[in-house]
């Protein structure tokens, strides 16, 4: 029973960051239909920015996280403008190849700048965990959970409640009509990619200090992000959020009660099952965006 509660708690916390990654990629892959293999590199970028500002430059830890997210958004905007804006309407394969290139360049740049030696970011939280009964959780993980939940709610509000969100939904439903209604299509693409990248950077900025920071940390993250988006249904924000939690639950309980060697396989097994039974994703309703 104690073990069950501990697994549940672990899954909840891990799930919140998976959800963040998944929602970020939903903007880019689910809505824009760009197969963004560099998504994990924005995650890595966020982690390294926290390292740079909080450890190397000595900025306050919380401020460093905010700076990392803002820089992630800016980098996303630059990548979109530099690499993708010229290929608007191009084949999905073309943009995929461009993003694979970006992935390789970004990962090697990180290796060049910070070397392959893992970096650790100290957090200003008590080292001793919060223990209730026989269940323990680190304060740092609790902080990540709260921050991730706030960001998920924020992203959802942005899409549903703001003019920008409305314009995004309109653009991806029917680009031509949206353009005729006076929406600046290029700006919308730029903003969407930047926001998606910003969320990935946020996930990295939050998880980097909990884990360790290495140039290859994004490789597994990007695969999981794709899995979550497919699980939740392409372009479905709530689906991606729930998909993140479902993946974490399956991994945690698979590792805890079946076999830890197949921990990562559990998640992918689930995706194969979902694709066979309900190919539109677990939470997809009718074809709808947003």
């Amino acid at each position: 029973m104690d073990q069950l509660l501990q697994h549940l708690l672990n899954a909840l916390i891990l799930g919140s960051t998976y959800a963040l990654l998944g929602i970020g990629l939903t903007f880019i892959f689910g809505i824009m239909r760009v197969v963004n293999f560099a998504h994990g590199e924005f995650y890595t970028f966020g982690a390294y920015m926290v390292y740079l500002f909080s450890v190397t430059l000595g900025v306050n830890f919380l401020l460093a996280i905010v700076i990392a997210i803002v820089l992630g958004i800016l980098l996303g905007a630059v990548v979109e403008w530099l690499l993708l804006s010229k290929h608007r309407g191009a084949d999905i394969d073309t943009t995929m190849l461009i993003m694979i290139g970006a992935w390789i360049i970004m990962q090697n740049a990180e290796q060049l700048l910070w070397s392959g030696v893992a970096k650790s970011i100290p957090m200003p939280f008590p080292e001793d965990p919060l223990t209730v009964g026989s269940v323990s959780v680190a304060w740092a993980r609790l902080f990540v959970f709260v921050m991730a939940t706030l960001l998920i709610i924020g992203a959802q509000m942005l899409i549903q409640r703001t003019r920008l969100g409305k314009a995004m939904r309109a653009t991806f439903q029917d680009t031509a009509t949206a353009s005729l209604m006076g929406i600046n299509i290029n700006m919308i693409y730029l903003a969407t990619f930047a926001l998606g990248s910003g969320l990935a950077a946020a996930a990295g900025a939050l998880l980097g200090p909990i884990f360790i920071v290495i140039p290859t940390m994004g490789n597994l993250a990007v695969i999981k992000a794709f899995a979550i988006v497919i699980l939740g249904g392409l372009g479905n924000m709530k689906g991606a959020a729930l998909g993140g939690f479902v993946l974490a639950l399956v991994e945690e309980f698979g590792a805890g009660y079946v076999s830890s060697g197949y921990r990562d396989a559990m998640g992918f097994l689930l995706i194969i099952l979902v694709l066979m039974v309900k190919p539109t994703g677990l939470f997809a309703r009718t074809e709808r965006i947003g």
């Binding site: 891990l14 090697n108 392959g116 080292e127 323990s136 998880l207 884990f211 360790i212 830890s260 921990r263």
Partner: protein
Amino acid sequence: MSRLTKMALMASVLACSVAGAAADTIKIGINQPLTGSVAASGNFITDGAKLAAEAINEKGGVLGKQLELVIEDNKSNPSEAAAAAEKLISRDEVSAMMGAWGSSFTLAVMPKLQEYGIPMVVETASSSKVTSAGNPWVFRIAPTSEMEAKAFGQLVPEFAMKKVDFLVVNNDWGLGAAGEFGKMLKEQGVEVGMTETMDPAAQDVSAQLAKIKASDADTLFVTTGYEQLSLVFKQLKALDVNRRVITTGGSQFPDRLAEQLGSAADNSYHILFFAPWFPDAAANPEVAHGYIDQWNQKGYDKSGLSDGFRGYDAITAIAAAVEAAGSADPEAIRDALWKVDVKGVNGNIKFQKVGVEGSESGQSSPNVYVVEIKDGKLALP
């Protein structure tokens, strides 16, 4: 053909002719991961190899010639490791090689050694497959998991363990360590509980640790590289698992663990093949001091010392073999490697015949050292 490709071609032709001109050196190929997931360790080992070559060259080289290291990056990838070996042998025409960091890269390179008849000193690799494959061109200075477990076995009574669990990386190295240490402990009357595994790239192991938390064992053995190890310690603390941890494998960087993790790494013991913080405890203190002084003079990262020695010892062994062979001919060097008996940083390097009869591989018997982290500092237990 574009202009760029033409220029690249010309440049490579030029580079070839320059390399060909320097014939007064003895070329040794270095096949290490300089980029990719295990790049940190590969770079340290390469640095160690350079120091050994430098020390030898300052004393006049070998057979009156200077040693020249030809360094190739295997990108932490087995197929790249095989390609790097091919390039070192057929284009650079090296006389011997050192490589290739880890069992999977080394196993990928081994067929090339046999094909071209070039000896290789293996500085890192724990799988028994490396020396049991019947490849007579392989000479290993790194210990197998079995040797490591056996050497540690003499210290087991001091730890008074009753029951142990294992948490290991899910590959040949981790599973091999769990198997060999489990066997050794059972023979000593220690109960062996569960063996949990983790993907080499996994960052979150809290599911495995929640399971371990519920076990009644008093000691946890962990086998993985430094990066994952620091995650394991952090997450052990977060889940409030309090028990003795013993790490194996030789690439744990306990100094960095102590510095970065503070009290989270307390009450842990680390089985190493060289403990640079205690050079006087080494089998050959004078060699250890010399190596450490050289490393510090260069201003290399101090935490790399416990990896770099492997490159140092491998080059020392190769140089001794070239000296004994009296020529830079690969086959003569191979035959001479059997006669090598030199003092290395880890201990004395001397190869015994192991594996398939008639085409034995060489295996040296390295020493094992245990270091403890106590109150955030390193100590000898």
